[in-house]
């Protein structure tokens, strides 16, 4: 097998073990092991990218194979995988680099770095595997790492609960993926991702089976990528360290849902499941962008914007444009990593203050962070010439061309609103006077090497990556993609954004009094509450699970468990004790007894043979 592929498969896990063991011996070693491993992984991805020549790297290695029992496994690296590899390892490396200062005061660094490397390993496994089973393993590895990292500060109850919630919500989706694997195994006979696409192209799969399987896989994607209705975990996941939010809940893991749909794109197109994808995603985009308008915590605003932008990428796929969805995924990963890391820098500067209303006026103390944050914000808002503009434009044009009314309307609103919430956030953090005395006097100074450099790199990339936009699209799809011509779309979008921008600037800089007056109205208060609580979806899920699952179904199961199963289990104790006492007769500890049994055994064998082979 290709050396680079070997490295990608093995190095993260070896690095994770080493980072923990060496870090326990000497704390700083943990960081260096992680940094070097991250660099090696990124280099390996770059090597694969440079050597790639339009023929996918393809290995079929059955994991276990004897008789008719086969657990398949395989490596398949094509355009899509390479893009995802570059994102996962590149952003992973920058994130580890950034953590040097951000996590610098934490006493548990070995644990942190080994978990991060383990996560990267899971992500790599997901994107280079050829088989749904291998993908599922990688998928679960990431879920485990995400759980462990959200509850990294496990002694905080909120963090521990958030980790648990993330695990349970995503697990609900994962069960459906497992069901899809079983379905495909039984009815189609393969879980090979490439083969599934081929079969779908040739029309050789039963349409109903394919539709159910596709929707089940999409359920998993909903859980992992924070779509409606399984998104509340993503907001609570912000309890973890900000570097974790940047890597896992902003840039990489949450993309895996989009990746799996993109990987099976032909399969999805064949089944009409894309219709569901587009509509669910449009609704999620709307929910995410409106809720982001009213949040207080920096990270929650970014989390809702992540949800909204992932949905925009999903809409791109859902209306049938692989290029639009994947391009937005790539751009989003970069500017969202930038925004989260910049937010991390802000939080670090302000001595771990996360509430945006308690910050303010930071532009004087940290001009570079403010600049990079602004560049990320502009890209997110979709202002030309930043990368976000082009991909968002492509998605919306595709939606207008091929989507239905619902999709079209909601995704456009969501795309427009992004400028409103991100401008609000930037103004709250960087302009005005400090609203908190603690940070008025002293802030942590960000170091050039560990904080400004990674931010600068990301800002640079998000500004200039659009130069190669058509090359990236060409690389993803393998052919030229013509953007649908919608007359006046760009003008409409830019005007809409400008109006929203002016409203937000006016309200938050000039007219805070007016804002307070509007906000104190009862009707506005009600809407504010609904948005602030994410449309009460979390409460709804909690209610359903509490009343239907816990209090009725689980109670019934518990009755059965206590009075039937436990009774049987308890009875086995007496039974096995009785058996034990019976067997114990033979074990006196005297060698004479043993030899007697020995002779008995010999007699049994000889007599048995004579009886069985009587004919001789």
């Amino acid at each position: 097998m290709n050396n680079a592929v070997y490295i990608l498969l093995v190095a993260p896990f070896v690095g994770a073990a080493l980072a923990y063991i060496l870090g326990k011996l000497k704390q700083p070693l943990a960081f260096w092991v992680a940094e070097i491993t991250g660099a090696i992984l990124f280099l390996a991805s770059v090597v694969i990218f440079l050597k790639y020549s339009n023929t996918p790297i393809n290995y079929d290695i059955p994991w276990i194979h004897y008789g008719n029992f086969i657990i398949p496994f395989g490596i398949y690296i094509d355009h899509l995988s390479i893009i995802m590899l570059l994102i996962a390892t590149g952003l992973g490396f920058l994130d580890i680099h950034f953590a040097h200062d951000y996590m610098g005061e934490d006493p548990d660094q070995p644990r942190y770095y080994s978990k991060v490397l383990f996560f990267i390993g899971g992500m790599i496994l997901l994107v280079i595997t050829k088989n749904l089973i291998g993908a599922f393993v990688g998928w679960e590895f990431m879920g485990l790492a995400s759980y462990a990292l959200i509850s990294f500060w496990y002694y905080k109850k909120s963090a521990a609960d958030a980790g648990m919630q993330a695990f349970l919500y995503t697990r609900l989706g994962d069960i459906f993926i497992l069901a899809a694997i079983a379905l495909l195994m039984i009815f189609v006979g393969t879980t090979n991702l490439v083969e599934l696409n081929h079969l779908a192209d040739a029309g050789q799969i039963n349409k109903t089976v394919a539709l159910v399987a596709a929707l089940f896989i999409f359920m998993g994607a909903i859980g992992k990528s924070g779509q409606f209705p399984l998104y509340p975990w993503l907001m609570n996941a912000m309890e973890g360290p900000t570097t974790v939010s940047a890597l896992i809940h902003g840039a990489t893991m949450v993309n895996s849902g989009i990746y799996i749909v993109a990987r099976l794109f032909d399969f999805y197109s064949y089944t009409d499941a894309l219709f569901v994808v587009a509509n669910v995603a449009a609704l999620s985009a709307f929910i995410g962008s409106t809720s982001a308008l009213v949040q207080k915590e920096i990270k929650k605003i970014l989390a809702y914007s992540t949800m909204s932008h992932l949905s925009i990428a999903f809409v791109g796929l859902g209306v049938g444009s692989l290029a639009a969805g994947m391009l937005h995924l790539v751009n989003h990963a970069i500017f969202k990593a930038l925004l989260f890391l910049a937010a991390g820098a802000v939080i670090y500067l302000a001595h771990h203050t996360k509430d945006a209303w308690k910050l303010g006026g930071l532009v004087k103390q940290a001009p570079f962070v403010a600049l990079f944050f602004a560049m990320g914000s502009l890209s997110l808002a979709g202002v030309p010439p930043f990368s976000g503009f082009f991909s968002k434009e492509l998605v919306i044009a595709s939606a207008w061309e091929w989507g239905n009314g619902f999709t079209k309307t909601f995704v456009t609103i969501a795309a427009l609103l992004s400028i409103a919430y991100i401008t609000r956030l930037w103004i709250l953090i960087f302009l005005g006077e400090p609203r908190n005395e603690d940070i008025a006097g002293s802030v942590h100074k960000p170091s050039n090497l560990w904080m400004r450099l990674p931010l600068g790199i990301l800002a640079f990339v998000t500004l200039f990556i659009s130069i190669w936009q058509s090359n990236i699209i060409h690389f993803i799809v393998g052919k030229e993609v013509v953007e649908p011509e919608i007359v006046g779309l760009t003008a409409f979008m830019l005007t809409g954004m400008l109006v929203l921008f002016l409203i937000v600037v006016g309200l938050y800089i000039k007219g805070l009094n007016l804002l307070y007056k509007i906000a104190s109205h009862h009707f506005v208060q009600t809407i504010h509450q609904i948005l602030f609580n994410g449309y009460y979806v979390e409460a709804m899920i909690t209610w359903i699970s509490k009343n239907i699952f816990v209090n009725s179904m689980a109670k019934a199961a518990r009755w059965f468990d206590t009075f039937v199963i436990d009774y049987i289990v308890n009875a086995t104790v007496a039974m096995s004790l009785y058996t034990y006492k019976f067997f114990r007769f033979g074990h006196s500890g005297r060698i004479g007894t043993y030899m007697g049994q020995f002779v008995l055994g010999v007699a049994i064998i000889v007599i048995a043979i004579l009886l069985i082979v009587k004919g001789l």
Binding site: W63, Y66, G586, I591, Q597, G601, V602, A608
Partner: protein, 443 residues
């Protein structure tokens, strides 16, 4: 070639081990590595002596054997030093036993292995050790007598001792084989020839018990399968009935006995007997093409995990005076490394997926199903579930109970390297199944 190197090293090592154990360990280690290299080159006993054949499957179990013995040699200290030389002799003889294709040599080498095992247990330090050693010796002597009786009978009726050309027709060869099998069952600790093992494994020095229960049993398992394969194919009904019967009673009795033991070593001894029961399933399924894969996988997985648990128990006994289950309480905190290795290997014994013990059971049971013995496999599966009870009980004591004292236990470097070797084996063969299964295709 590798045989000569190992025996020569075994003769040199005693000069050093009293004064400088480090040199002795290094010599042993180098000998094991060089021997493995020659095996890899295809120059084991077969390049010097006739009657020996080296194929891919044999090579694989030999590598596992040499790695395990190297791991054991590295972790020996104190009064266990003389065992280093025994490891080398045992390695040499075991290579012969695994490679031979001659029934006469099989019997002779089997006896040599038995004699080495008596010397191993003869490292007596207290009354307890002595009792175990005497039991092992007397049982072994009786078994040797029975094997030789069977072999004498067999030698009258056959013209050739070559596995392929042995005479298997007629009443006498069959009775002879039955008698010999009974003798070999003693070494494999099949019920009802197991009584000595339950006592001896738990009473002799744990390092010696690791060799007896882990290494020697695995080697004998594979060698016996090869030696008796022709008979098992020729008399399918008798094979299925006899081996199934012994498999079922062995695992059932051993698991129930293990459930209520208080002494850790005794639990592990009975668990070892139970594993013999599982390992008999591929014997019963000899008609299946997967039977040899089942045996080989079981032997390779078992050699790593069983040896490892007894070696750690040895460390526990030496450092913390562990004898009973309650002595294990809180060791998870006091000796984190030991406990980690112990836990993983015990999980492997219990058959938790992604560890060698699971795949070994899966392949062995698959052979059983393939031969149509699914009732036996069902009983075996139920038994493995039962076995989890006492394995989990050990883990519970390690991690979920409070310790009586707080002194920590450090792991010596030799022991650590040894355990890492064994752990690598357990994990590698728990994930990569293709090596073993593909190697048995030509059998």
């Amino acid at each position: 070639m590798s045989f000569i190197i190992l025996i020569a090293a075994g003769l040199i090592v005693p000069i050093f081990y009293r004064n400088n154990i480090f040199i002795a360990k290094m010599i042993a280690l180098i000998a094991f590595i060089v021997a493995a290299y020659f095996i890899y080159q295809g120059e084991s006993l077969n390049s010097v002596f006739p009657y020996f054949v080296l194929d891919k499957a044999t090579m694989l179990i030999e590598f596992a054997l040499l790695a395990t013995l190297a791991a054991v040699s590295l972790s020996l200290t104190g009064f266990e030093r003389p065992l280093i030389a025994q490891m080398l002799f045992l390695a040499g003889v075991s290579l012969g036993l695994l490679e031979t294709n001659n029934f006469f040599l099989f019997i002779v080498l089997f006896e040599v292995v038995a004699i080495i095992s008596y010397i191993l247990v003869a490292n007596i330090r207290n009354f307890f050790n002595a009792e175990g050693a005497i039991k092992a010796f007397i049982a072994g002597a009786v078994a040797s007598g029975i094997i030789l009786l069977g072999f004498a009978l067999f030698s009258f009726t056959t013209d050739s001792f070559n596995y392929a050309h042995m005479n298997i027709n007629g009443k006498f060869p069959l009775i002879a084989v039955a008698i010999m099998l009974a003798g070999i069952f003693y070494k494999l600790t099949v019920v009802p020839m197991h009584g000595w093992a339950a006592d001896a494994y738990s009473q002799v020095n744990h390092a010696a018990a690791a060799i007896l229960s882990g290494v020697i049993k695995s080697v004998v398992l594979v060698a016996t399968f090869k030696a008796f394969y022709k008979f098992m194919i020729a008399y399918p009904v008798a094979t299925v009935l006899i081996f199934s019967f012994f498999a079922v009673i062995t695992m059932t009795l051993a698991n129930f006995m293990a459930l209520f033991q208080k002494r850790v070593s005794k639990i592990l001894a009975y668990s070892s007997i139970a594993h013999s029961g599982y390992a008999l399933i591929p014997f019963a399924a000899a008609a299946s093409v997967y039977s040899y894969a089942g045996i080989l996988y079981y032997a390779i997985a078992y050699i790593f995990m069983q040896t490892s648990v007894f070696l750690i128990l040895n460390d526990f006994r030496r450092e913390a005076g562990v004898k009973y289950l309650q002595d294990l309480k809180g060791l998870g905190k006091r000796a984190p490394l030991h406990s980690l290795f112990f836990t993983i290997q015990i999980f492997s014994l219990a058959g938790i997926p992604l560890l060698a013990g699971f795949l070994a059971k899966a392949v062995a049971f698959y052979a059983g199903v393939d031969a149509g013995l699914w009732p036996i496999v069902l009983i075996a599966a139920l038994n493995s579930a039962l076995a989890v009870a006492y394995y989990a009980w050990i883990i519970k004591h390690l991690y979920f109970d409070e310790a009586k004292c707080n002194s920590t236990i450090k792991m010596s470097a030799g022991s650590l390297i040894g355990q890492l070797i064994l752990l690598a084996g357990t994990i590698y063969f728990g994930i990569v199944a293709a090596d073993v299964i593909n190697s048995t295709v030509t059998f």
